[in-house]
Amino acid sequence: MQALSGVSFDVPPGSVFGILGPNGSGKTTLLGIVTDVLKADSGTFQLFGKPAGASERRSIGTLLETPNFYHYLSGWKNLEISASIKQRGADDIERVLKVCGLYARKDAAFKTYSLGMKQRLALASVLLGDPDVLILDEPTNGLDPSGIAEVRSIIHDLAGSGKTIILASHLLDEVEKVCTHVAILQRGQLLLSGAVSEVIQRNDFVELAAADNQALVALILRFPGCNSAVVSGSSVIATFDSPPDTAAINGWCANNGIWLSQLQLRKKSLEKAFLELTHTSNS
């Protein structure tokens, strides 16, 4: 079973790099290869611009898939082990446990933690020693809504402080909310990679309605820059070459004798943009 083929891209320093793809598209395999837990049959990669070894891994905070800790040890003692292996961060344990909201349970055994707490401990381990590069594979897995919001704000803060973050996710709005760059994987192939705004083109569109929608379609098609207009249900969907100006559209229609009962600027949902992207590649 070939999990990845011909996937190649660079992660610019200081970027928040999203790796996006449906389940089973090879995200974790890709990150597993970079962290040396999986052996690639061919291909190369570099960390910090040099061939990767154990010492490069020590300066990256990595959360890969599930949290892996010694069940019989407390959260604190598990982090002592991580710090020992990373050879850094032993005096940082209190801080990261507080950031991840686990300080109150620091002395409880890992096996008594809930799924969300285990995930928080894994994040705490990632933050240990304040690494400049972080690899996060589905970091909000298993967290409740407030936990998801907390993790996002942690990622925001980290990104703001100039860290490089590689974030794998199948949750599109997670990527949209935090990433500057993105690579899209599908069935082990790299579909696209680059800055988010370039990769995921999302033209705004306008949803509007009037008493006579057919007349409205005919009229709006004559509006400068309008490239399509179709009736959809009880309203008309119109798209434009450049970001549409709703006030101008309103005025245009009124001047031409059609009074709008509805006028709304809408963004194409990321889900839709993503599905379009992956479907185009299917056909």
Partner: protein, 258 residues
């Protein structure tokens, strides 16, 4: 290496199973030795003991304690299997690498336990030999024939190497312990007996049997005369088995997906 030992120490420092197993593995050979020494130093058996050449006096006491202790080395093997398979159960073998160990470091960490546990076994048996020799024997302290304790040490190392190999290949504590005991208590003996009967003394060269050949049971061993190679042949065989097991463990760890 210091970092590896420190990290391994953090893993077991408050691990109850580790301490319970370690204490059992340390105490049971001591108790067994004192029990045997006591048994053969009182009543009717005392006369028999004298016929056998004072097995609890120096220098013969070294062979006696080494031979008795060798029956309990499986306890150290269980401990090593638990420490190794834990890493697979918790997937911390993967996490240790992600956090920045070389795959090689992971093997070194387990080899550290192999050596440490073997040295603990050596120390315990040496101390037991000294105390039993002094309290049950009629002669003064002597390290003549201490080589039997070294043979015992080698047998512990080969047993632990096999245990480590089984743990790394099977990854699950329960099945690894069962397979280890099936091998050490039966398979090795049976194969050896078959080989000895149909092929010859080469049957004594199987991994655990080689150690047994070097440590004849003192209380009966002298009654049975058996064709044997020189001691160094068995020592070399044991060293070869240790090397092969460690090599396979390394190979497996360096190549496989975690």
């Amino acid at each position: 290496m210091k970092n590896i030992i420190r990290t391994e120490w953090l893993k077991v420092r408050t691990y109850r199973t580790f301490w319970v197993m370690l204490i059992l593995a340390a105490i049971i050979p001591v108790i067994s030795n004192f029990f045997m020494a006591n048994l053969f130093s009182n009543g009717d058996l005392k006369k028999a003991t004298q016929l056998m050449g004072q097995p609890f006096s120096f220098p013969a006491v070294w062979l006696s304690v080494a031979s008795i202790s060798s029956y309990t080395s499986g306890l150290f093997a269980i401990l090593l299997i638990i420490l190794t398979t834990n890493e697979y159960t918790f997937r911390t073998n993967r996490q240790n690498i992600i956090d920045g160990w070389d795959r090689r470091d992971f093997v070194y960490a387990k080899l550290f336990w192999l050596v440490a546990l073997s040295l603990i076994a050596l120390a315990i048996t040496t101390l037991t030999g000294i105390i039993i020799g002094l309290s049950y024997g009629d002669t003064s302290l002597s390290f003549e024939d201490y080589r039997y304790v070294i043979y015992y040490f080698l047998q512990v190392v080969v047993a632990l190497s096999i245990a480590l190999l089984i743990a790394v290949l099977l990854k699950r504590a329960g099945i690894a312990i069962v397979i280890f005991f099936a091998y050490s208590m039966m398979l090795d003996n049976i194969l050896s007996a078959i080989l000895k009967r149909y092929v010859g003394q080469v049957g004594g060269l199987l991994p655990l049997q080689a150690g047994d050949q070097l440590l004849p049971v003192p209380l009966f061993g002298k009654l049975i005369s058996e064709e044997m190679y020189d001691a160094y042949v068995y020592v070399i065989a044991i060293l070869v088995y240790i090397s092969i097991a460690v090599y396979i463990v390394f190979r497996k760890m360096m190549k496989s997906d975690l």
